[in-house]
Symmetry: C2
């Protein structure tokens, strides 16, 4: 990080802090924000001077493109504080690259690396007191970009706002997770935007997820929209299956988000000599394995939930309960991953980056 | 419209007007807004007191759900002033119903009819001077709803803002329109949100449309995402084809928006004894008809562009030019439709509603 570039960020410090009002033991995910935010506007074809300033609402015109045509993308990443009070990011380059991949797909300008990375680092340094050490604690980081250009005509905006906001989180315990395999609804089209972290992809899932919730399921596992035969991913997690001691997950595609946790777990499992296969996993594979007793585990993987074990799934109105397992692959990989993230174990992959 | 309900709208009049700064002869579509807007917030499970107030930017928290998860829907409709200075809406009930259909699909609250209709009527009355009579002139009306609840967690918001903004427009002349038939990209998934007027559907089309623009095409005609064999719709228009003197258009589905102009043209054509067939139209039908000389017309239909004639299409790198036709079905239907909308011809269908 060059000092000159770092110095280019204007810093407007908040005269007060909200930190004493926060109960860090009882945080509801994504609901509390730190004292500052990072902001950089794009206009006249270029990125303007970035600023760090007090977290506060901002003004938008009612005709702003983001409201009408949905040009909006985001990332989700975490920072961790180790026992020495040093702050670490986990594979931030992956989030940065994916952010710009999303930007391209949504016809938005790419954010230069120094704006993204310096903004992130300086913001984390300024609000460092908000990052708590200890198992499960982390700073959830939300970089996002919205179209701020005015006018209700369906074409790309020429003005954008890139922001980073920070939300301290504790470990995310979802309770028992039963899933429904999607038979009608879907989250992504072939040739669509499923591989982008575009805001519109999430709202599309709310209604079918509400229906699943009402039926007693916490999550939906989406299938390919054309045939509903391939298992793809969950709301904000990629999915893994353990069948016959093989760890299986679908290849990423233009319908599936290329999750950082997913690729990390694949590498971790491989390095642990776990048999990993990345190949299309069919609903029929899963049902058959459940029936013949070879299905051992299903789990979701993502930055927010880390690794989330699934207790059973429903397909065509039949509920398949998973066996209770003592030494699960999920728990083993979760432990490895969080140890590396929290600097409790050597990071031989070079995934952790000091802030 | 009951007086009591009407009176429930608080009206905050703008002390000044921007109307004298507007060049009504040279309006760029959707870029100029009237003096007022209508607003109604949803919180604590209910719609709050509606207000009409000066058009102005408003404050949103950086963590507002609309920015992160894309809960945002809209409608597009027009009001027309006849030679007697009376203002008319065209089938507003259809837009109202579709708005709430979109709301349900995006897990947003439905807007009560009196809030939508009274808001619309009173706003149009207040800014009536902005509605110009004469061919092509209209007031474009943009009702929209966004999720304003705070928090970066991917589930439905519990707070929303419903707004109506008004933009005076003149006839929308797109110039020559050549289209590209989509072979890879697509706008909607089976079981997705294509039939909803959800903001995210539009941003998804910008990148592939930019690619088409660069190749010399103004619009893309989307095909079904699974096979790319069925012709579906264009960016903000449904599409019609005239082959062998038969007017063809695809049936609406969960991938295709149920356009008001589309259903209106179907009824108009039928009442004019034009042979209409609503059935899947295959890319191969179109190519074959172009080759054997039976393809007469292609046109788009939507509120913004009304009826937009297409001069040719490209598929698999071959460009098919359409014949120049004197008495086109497109021009005939457009004329009928705009005459009814502008009260120059009897509205035997009861589509026009006085404001
Ligand atoms: C749709 C979707 N799939 C998968 C993931 C998991 O990705 P990651 O591990 O990078 O957080 C996320 C969350 O970011 C997501 O939104
Ligand atoms: C995707 C899409 N298809 C078709 C249409 C045409 O619908 P309508 O005739 O109701 O304006 C629109 C515009 O509203 C649209 O956005």
């Amino acid at each position: 990080m060059s000092t000159t570039q770092t110095n280019q960020i204007e810093i407007l410090k908040s005269p007060t802090t909200k930190i004493n009002e926060v109960d860090f033991e009882n945080l509801s995910f994504g609901s509390v924000f730190t004292d500052h935010l990072f902001e950089c506007d794009f206009k006249n074809g270029e990125w303007q001077k970035p600023i760090i300033k007090p977290y506060a609402p901002f003004l938008l015109d009612p005709s702003s493109r983001v409201f009408h045509y949905g040009q909006a993308i985001f990332e989700g990443m975490k920072a961790y504080k180790d026992t020495q009070e040093t702050v670490w990011l986990f594979r931030p380059d992956e989030n940065y690259k994916r952010f710009n991949k999303s930007a391209v797909r949504m016809a938005m300008p790419e954010v230069p690396e120094e704006i993204f990375m310096n903004g992130l680092n300086q913001l984390l340094q300024l609000d460092e007191a908000w990052i708590k050490k200890g198992s499960g604690n982390a700073m959830y980081i939300r970089p996002f970009m919205i179209a701020t250009g005015k006018g209700v005509i369906a074409n790309p905006s020429n003005e954008y706002k890139f922001m980073i906001i920070l939300s301290p989180v504790t470990s995310y315990y979802a309770g028992e997770v039963k899933v429904l395999i999607a038979e009608h609804f879907s989250r992504a089209a072939n040739g669509g935007i499923g591989a982008a972290k575009a805001a519109g992809n999430y709202a599309a899932q709310f209604y079918p997820t509400n229906l699943a919730n009402e039926a007693g399921f916490q999550q939906v596992i989406w299938t390919d929209d054309a045939t509903h035969t391939k298992l793809e991913e969950a709301g904000t997690m990629n999915v893994f299956f353990v069948i016959n001691n093989v760890l299986l997950t679908a290849p990423v595609s233009e319908r599936i988000l290329d999750g950082v946790t997913r690729k990390t777990l694949i590498d971790l499992a491989t390095s642990e000599n776990i048999n990993v296969e990345v190949r299309p996993v069919l609903v029929s594979d899963l049902v058959e394995a459940a029936k013949n007793g070879t299905l051992q585990e299903i789990f979701g993987a993502g930055t927010a939930a880390v690794v989330s074990q699934i207790s059973g799934f429903s397909y065509q109105d039949i509920y398949y309960e998973l066996p209770k397992i003592d030494n699960s692959v999920a728990a083993h990989l979760k432990n490895k991953l969080t140890n590396i993230q929290n600097k409790l174990e050597e990071d031989k992959f070079g995934w952790t980056v000091k802030v």
